[in-house]
């Protein structure tokens, strides 16, 4: 079985599952499905910048939050439809990403230090918005619910589900096209060794900025969706470090730098979270202990992620022949 075949099987399985899932799910399970897809979109976003280009972000919440706040502020203050706000939010997030990237890379921040810088930026934005009265400050913004599809509001959760499914599909198609293009090769080369990449004529700074901006734009789409779906945002929700973690974990568990890794990762990690939450209600904290233990087990036994593991098993079988 070659890589192409594995990819095709994974794609078909995920697509079929994604499309028919709402017909078999009750309200509660459908909510979990939507959360899986939000995590998948965040994971794919993180995948572009960190999985492919190797620029580890620990602050993806900054882009998620900017997406959520841009569309929500435009909607509640100026009546701009969140469909348009979503695109503006993605643009703003991409610009902020480029600025963060430019500042960090200009001062030659790399690896751990770059990761810390992204964490710092997420915190800066959280505190800024927390103290900005016109953006609702710490109390956040409640979005009036008009149930108007033109305003990115739907009567049925099924519709929300399919909307986020489309975004996840878009991100996945983007990565699929990217990974085989000049852009994708250059990003992987930069992850491998940026000096060597520059020696081959790759404008390292430019490609890093493209990676961080496009990654930011997808995270912002997830942010707007979150705001529209839950109808309420505040800085401690959308700029939270838990959001940044939610971008990282599916990608690493599923296989970072692989096309379907974040999707598989989200499919595993979010239901696991839910199961832990519902099983261990009597003693508080046990859910997180179990959840943490499972993640540790994954890191120990599956360091390349689920998809990386599949590829390795396949590689070994190929070698035996």
């Amino acid at each position: 079985m070659n890589t192409k075949k594995i990819n095709r099987i994974t794609l078909t399985a995920l697509l079929v599952l994604g499309l028919i899932f709402p017909f078999f799910a009750d309200y509660y399970v459908l909510c979990i499905g939507i959360n899986v897809l939000i995590a998948a979109l965040l994971g794919q976003s993180w995948n572009i910048m960190s999985g492919y280009a190797g620029q580890f972000s620990f602050g993806h919440a900054v882009f998620f939050g900017i997406g959520a706040y841009t569309s929500t502020a435009l909607y509640t203050m100026f009546g701009v439809t969140p469909w348009l706000g979503m695109i503006i939010g993605a643009g703003v997030a991409a610009a902020v990403g480029a600025i963060i990237g430019f500042l960090s890379f200009r001062y030659k921040l790399r690896d751990d230090y770059f990761a810390l810088a992204t964490l710092a930026f997420a915190e800066i934005f959280r505190i800024l918005v927390n103290n900005t009265k016109s953006l609702g400050g710490a109390t956040g913004i409640l979005i009036p619910y008009l149930q108007n599809p033109m305003e990115y509001q739907f009567a049925s959760d099924k519709t929300y589900y399919y909307v986020i499914l489309i975004f996840v599909a878009l991100a996945t198609v983007y990565i699929a096209l990217m990974s085989k293009s000049k852009l994708g090769l250059n990003l992987v080369a930069i992850k491998g060794n940026q000096e060597a990449a520059a020696a081959l004529g790759v404008n390292v700074l430019k490609y890093k900025l493209i990676a961080i901006s496009s990654s930011a734009a997808f995270a912002a789409l997830a942010g707007t969706f979150y705001a529209q779906y839950y109808g309420f945002i505040d800085p401690s929700i959308v700029f939270a470090s838990s959001i940044s973690v939610e971008a990282i974990v599916p990608c690493i568990i599923g296989g970072s730098g692989t096309l379907y890794g974040p999707l598989l990762g989200a499919l595993l990690i979010i239901p696991l979270q839910e199961i832990c939450n519902s099983l261990f209600t009597s003693i508080s904290g046990v859910n997180m202990i179990v959840y943490g233990a499972v993640i540790v087990a994954f890191i120990l036994f599956c360091p390349d992620g689920i998809f990386g593991r599949i590829m390795k098993i396949k590689g070994k079988k190929g070698a035996k022949k």
Binding site: L185, N186, G192, A199, V202
Partner: protein, 240 residues
């Protein structure tokens, strides 16, 4: 025609003179050797030429254009390729894809880039390995991949930093042939090398660095007869 001209190039690290007033002229079609003991400043000089370090003072011109302040990728675009002392294959990309990254330096379309990359892989003798992950190559193959990638950028001048280090005698001999083939294809070469027979047989001109300073230059015969060079680098055995 003069391809590269370095004048009075200095590189200081906190007062430590790693490269001290080095002058070098490379003519088109030549193979120029650069030798010197470990720490003599050879790689630092390479890094100044290719934009990884900014020279503290001095000028460097490639085809008449000043490059001492240019960034590495710009210098590559202008036609200077290089390899690294420690091979740096991009893991997760196949041998072909590794080379395609270099080919995009000049190629505009995907099909051109892949065509150019295949050409370079065949040229360096990696043709049957194009689908393998670069991480799975052995040392000799990694060196060849470094060369293939650098060639794919279509350089006029190629800087080779110890491409024979760690190779078996057979592989070294093959590498000598390959370097000749590259020169014959019209690429000028500047190479750092510790394997003297290989370097002496290839080079038209040899430059010798010692503690950052240029202590000798000339044909391989002239340099290997130079007393100062023998003392500082080659050792007594070269006299025999």
């Amino acid at each position: 025609m003069i391809l590269l001209e370095a004048k009075d190039v200095c590189k200081y690290f906190h007062g430590n003179k790693a490269v001290d007033m080095v002058n070098m002229t490379i003519n088109e079609g030549e193979i120029v050797g650069l030798i010197g003991a470990n720490g003599a400043g050879k790689t630092t000089f390479f890094n100044c030429l290719t934009g990884y370090y900014k020279a503290t003072s001095g000028t460097i011109a490639f085809m008449g254009k000043s490059i001492e302040k240019a960034k590495p990728h710009v210098i590559c675009k202008m036609g200077v390729g290089r390899t690294f002392q420690i091979a740096k294959p991009f893991h997760g990309l196949s041998v072909l894809e590794n080379t395609v990254v270099g080919a995009y330096n000049k190629c505009k379309t995907k099909s051109d880039a892949y065509k150019k990359a295949r050409e370079c892989i065949d040229f360096t003798g990696l043709g049957d390995k194009e689908g393998l992950d670069a991480a799975s190559l052995n040392t000799g193959e990694q060196r060849r991949l470094e060369l293939a990638r650098a060639l794919a950028t279509q350089p006029k001048l190629l800087l080779l930093d110890e491409v024979m280090a760690g190779l078996t005698p057979t592989e070294s001999a093959e590498m000598v042939e390959l370097i000749r083939k590259i020169r014959d294809s019209g690429v000028t070469i500047l190479m750092i090398e510790h394997i003297m027979p290989a370097l002496m047989s290839l080079s038209d001109t040899v430059y010798v660095l010692d503690q950052g300073r240029l202590i000798s230059k000339g044909t391989p015969e002239e340099v290997s007869a130079d007393k100062q060079v023998i003392e500082s680098y080659l050792g007594k055995s070269a006299e025999v």
